[in-house]
Symmetry: C2
Subunit: 335 residues, 2 copies
Amino acid sequence: MAAYSVNHAELSSPPNFADRLAAKVLEKKSQVCVGLDPQIGLIPPFLLARQSGDEGSLGLDPSGVAEAFEEFSLAIIEAVEPHAVAIKLQLACFEAYGPAGIGIMWQLAQACARAGLLVIADGKRGDVGPSAALYSAAYLGIPPAAPPGTSPAQLEEHPEETPVLAGFDAMTVNPLFGEDGVRPFLDDCGRYGKGIFFLVRTSNPGGAQLQDLKLADGGLWHEHLARLVNRWGAGLTGNCGYSSAGAVVGATRPEAIGRLRRMMPAAVFLLPGYGAQGAGAADVREAFDAEGLGGLVSASRSIIYAGNGRGFAVEAAAAAERMKKEVWGAVGQQS
Amino acid sequence: MAAYSVNHAELSSPPNFADRLAAKVLEKKSQVCVGLDPQIGLIPPFLLARQSGDEGSLGLDPSGVAEAFEEFSLAIIEAVEPHAVAIKLQLACFEAYGPAGIGIMWQLAQACARAGLLVIADGKRGDVGPSAALYSAAYLGIPPAAPPGTSPAQLEEHPEETPVLAGFDAMTVNPLFGEDGVRPFLDDCGRYGKGIFFLVRTSNPGGAQLQDLKLADGGLWHEHLARLVNRWGAGLTGNCGYSSAGAVVGATRPEAIGRLRRMMPAAVFLLPGYGAQGAGAADVREAFDAEGLGGLVSASRSIIYAGNGRGFAVEAAAAAERMKKEVWGAVGQQS
């Protein structure tokens, strides 16, 4: 988190997130996003034993857990890099271990960037405007570190005090607060070439309880939300035709994907639920166009926990490669 | 975040959060919750200058900001302690500064506890079950630090490895994921005597866009949510008659407060928007019963930024005392 210099020339016309993503998808022939959700009960036990220094040890302090997560995650990032275009960090996994966990999370975001992978902060943040602006600054923008009104020119004169540009390419956002709550995220996307994925229809069973309620006008609640998301993202459309304001749509809801694609023609879909949650390549096909653009398919457990012995990284790489081929084969380069 | 011992005897029958809150309200004759939202552009400038060590300095690194926030916040906590029953920490303000900010946030939570104030993590977290469980563990419970299945008895034999019980009394939760997403929070409330406040109707203008949509069955979306919250909280009702699963209802929506009280008779209302956002004591009256129980009225800017010179803490104390008397006068001890 030490302050480093922001290239203001570059920031004056940042590359659009949707365009950056599209270029990576076509270059790698992959729509795979690996969900990095390190958890105590699921990572290879030998990594925990190494931290506690005692095979018989019962537990670790937060720093010990964070170090085990770091070793696990760095190996996964390196292993899946050839097959994935993005890594999605589940913030809850790191936040549970306080400053130690958060510190590792930021190091992993930088490791993803060094590996040429787009990195998504999966925190589902959402709040009233002033607080939303701080969440956006934390992950997409520049946290306030100078008095309001300080100009880029003044900062150029004090490079050692130039604030840090957050190291994530995109984040997930909970839209419940409506327009004034989501505006700061949209503004930072335009300002810094970042992206957001609004929760529209989640992949879990309980999602239906509130997201599928039938409205007096005949549609469903999440369909009304989809139309808002389509409007909110209008100003962020890149040369590829897609917007940097995308949507989270559960891959476990195939019947919803085509319907929501028609309501949000320009939204990049982030599609969780592939693999362990039961969705397959055919289920997500309708999110994609004939070039294979328009979505990111996210899998976590089926890849990062493909093995839990000393060969876990090799098995994760194999699982990521299988998924890449399955998804590209089903949705890529159609005609 | 260093691990300290958990008293398992105490945890076996933890005091109910709603009962703990009711006792404090009656003891202090106050329903005041002070929202602690430290921000660069709003805290007294001399605190920032002291950190940068140079009145002419342009900016601070994240640690410098965090230290200024700590000095500001500790002074506010001490100043408002006689007049408030709870402190609500806005997580976005600390999260924006990475590990340094999060570290200060945890120290402030402990300072609130030492001052005898209930402390609420205002993070509006919400996710699918497994991730929700980690958010809940982070703020209300015990983050996993030992292999699954480790028994309390085993941990007693290794006190140095006993996991930390999170230092917040309650947190705000975004309910969009539905039952399986909120269950882990409810379970930790029962297990550890903690509380949650579900977002039901927020205080910001944009809240209406999604929360006030009219349903086919005739009611509004947030009214359907209110009925779910009432059901979710049923198992957490204390001797005071209120549940540890409460609801966030904007104090800026007086017409909604009475209506939602009838739909959630046992929910403790967390009522933001008092003061700077325009709500007054009369607006929140319907949230409370004849004893003055049933709600927490939250104010941030009107108290913590009452002054921004060297006397800021004294002015914050005066503002908190005024608010305590206004609210208690309007809603307390009616008959």
